[in-house]
């Protein structure tokens, strides 16, 4: 074969030759690879170990993509940036390929052209496969693995081992470029986006994944990133709970907070039990009242009751009130304190109920007032209540 020189001028090919490789594709290697090889030799000292490591290559691009996806690099800026770079690389190589095709055909060597065209077309296909793999990176990793496996099969079937060398070199270089660029991107973006890290969990996930940006100076391991996200979620929820549970703003530390939350939930459940007991005692006489209340808007009264409920929580929290079904027998006359604002809020629904309770409006009102007096006394002093104490209070009202 006449050694046709494209770019290279008969010099020894810098590209390592496999033993037994036909020389026909050599000029293609020379013309095709010089730019790439210069770069690659700088970056990859292990380019000479290509032949033994050849079977590993086709899986590398897929592996790199999967690793990048597992480490949750953001697809918006990071991975698309990577893909843009790789696509631009592909474009450059595509141009080189087309140039080589032109130069090859000009030499008039049919077999060589066929081999070269096959090589170049295959590498183009491989490039397109890689681009499609990159675009599908968000979806599933299996397809990329399958594609890389098919690429492996395609390459092995090929006659031109040089083509394999080219494709593998290119793939390795791309893989290396991708990793180095990903690291660079992470560093650059980490320094730029440290302020934006708070929104990582709030990003709308594309598909099934939540994309998290690795912070500057932190490990980019997939496990540590996931753990960091989890810790942030837990701390966020603990802060929210801290706002909910009253009296927890001054408490710090997760253990004490948790105890407070548990105590609060237990006290609320005890309150529900106690109130249901009280309601059961009061209920038999309120058949008509409930119908009335259903028609009226009772929620206006709830706003005024919020202050008492705050007291109620402490009352239940510090001591256990015994159940007193007979605590406030009906029909007790009592003092009237019109200055009580709480009573005013209650009197409005009471006055609404009056048409239904004509027989004893007076008694019901005074009974209600007595209840309020008892409650206000408890709130003011908050003493430990005993049954006798509660039972004697209405009697005081009697005497007055």
């Amino acid at each position: 074969m006449v050694p046709v020189s494209g770019a290279g001028t008969g010099t020894a090919s810098p590209f390592p030759l496999w033993p037994g490789m036909p020389n026909l594709s050599n000029p293609i290697a020379e013309s095709f690879n010089p730019g790439m090889l210069n770069q690659s030799s700088n970056k990859f000292p292990y380019s000479s170990v290509l032949p033994p490591g050849l079977p590993n290559f086709p899986s590398e691009p897929g592996f790199i993509e999967r690793a990048a996806r597992l480490s949750c690099f953001s697809a918006n800026a990071g991975f698309n940036g990577l893909m843009n770079n790789s696509i631009s690389n592909q474009a450059q190589k595509g141009e080189l390929n087309s140039m080589n095709i032109g130069s090859g055909s000009s030499h008039g060597n049919q077999l060589k052209n066929q081999g070269s065209i096959d090589n170049n077309s295959e590498t183009n296909e491989g490039a397109e496969d890689k681009i499609s793999n990159g675009d599908n990176a968000n979806a599933n990793g299996d397809s990329s693995q399958n594609d890389s496996g098919s690429k492996k099969r395609k390459r092995k079937n090929q006659d031109g081992a040089m083509g394999q060398g080219q494709a593998s070199m290119k793939s390795q270089e791309e893989a290396g470029k991708q990793t180095s660029e990903s690291k660079k991107e992470v560093d650059n973006n980490g320094s730029k986006n440290t302020g934006k890290n708070g929104k990582d969990a709030a990003d709308v996930p594309k598909g099934d994944y939540i994309h998290v940006r690795a912070r500057r100076g932190q490990a980019t391991n997939s496990h540590s990133l996931a753990e960091r996200v989890r810790r942030e979620k837990i701390s966020e929820r603990m802060k929210y709970l801290q706002e909910l549970v009253p009296g927890c703003s001054k408490v710090t530390g997760k253990a004490v907070m948790l105890d407070e939350i548990i105590n609060y939930v237990q006290s609320l459940q005890r309150q529900v039990e106690f109130l249901s007991m009280k309601l059961a005692a009061v209920n038999p006489r309120l058949d008509l009242n409930i119908e009335t209340l259903l028609s009226k808007d009772i929620l206006q009264g709830r706003g005024a009751c919020s202050s008492t409920v705050g007291f109620t929580h402490e009352m239940f929290h510090s001591q256990l009130l015994p159940s007193q079904p007979g605590l406030l027998p009906p029909g007790l006359p009592g003092m009237l304190n019109p200055s009580d604002p709480f009573r005013r809020a209650i009197n409005t629904p009471l006055s609404a109920m009056n048409p239904f309770k004509d027989p004893n409006p007076q008694m019901s009102t005074t009974w209600q007032d007595e209840l309020h007096n008892v409650m206000s006394m408890n709130f003011a002093t908050n003493p430990p209540l005993s049954t006798q104490e509660i039972a004697t209070k209405p009697s005081d009202g009697f005497q007055l």
Partner: protein, 153 residues
């Protein structure tokens, strides 16, 4: 995400709590209209069940895990006759050690027992459910307190 924590809802006039209140009032009316049982404890139990049922049916919590678990528990309670001291549980639930992870503190187990449906959840979801459960419980307590105060003889 839909499951992001909403702001703490302390407004008693929100539509969530009004639905809860309405449900509870209707249940109370039903209990009052029913044949008045002489046993005070039976009535107490009915009212307590009504309270929890109205909590579970409120619009805010109908999508939550704890509300479904609470309804399930309510059904178990209602099927249980008051005279029976021992209940035979047909399905034994085995709590796998997966629920207790090294990440969460030791008190998390207590919280799991308190919040309905807490045993099958991860710690991070447990906290979210606890927050919603606390909100509903507080609203229910406020509602019952107001009712108690508004009701007279």
């Amino acid at each position: 995400m839909n499951r992001k924590n909403p702001l703490p809802n302390s407004n008693p006039n929100s539509p969530n709590s009004s639905m809860q209140a309405l449900h509870f009032l209707q249940a109370l009316a039903r209990i009052a209209r029913a044949a008045p049982k002489p046993a005070h404890s039976a009535r107490t139990r009915q009212i307590r069940h009504a309270a929890y049922a109205s909590m579970a049916h409120s619009s805010r919590s109908s999508r939550r895990t704890w509300s479904r678990a609470l309804l399930h528990r309510l059904r178990q309670w209602q099927q249980q006759r008051p005279g029976r001291l021992l209940t035979v549980r047909r399905r034994v639930r085995i709590v796998t050690p997966i629920t207790s992870r090294p990440e969460e503190p030791a008190r998390a187990e207590t919280l799991r027992q308190l919040v309905p449906g807490g045993r099958g959840m991860e710690y991070c979801n447990l906290l979210e459910e606890t927050a919603d459960y606390v909100q509903c419980l507080r609203a229910q307590v406020q509602l019952m307190q107001t009712l108690l105060d508004a009701f007279s003889s």
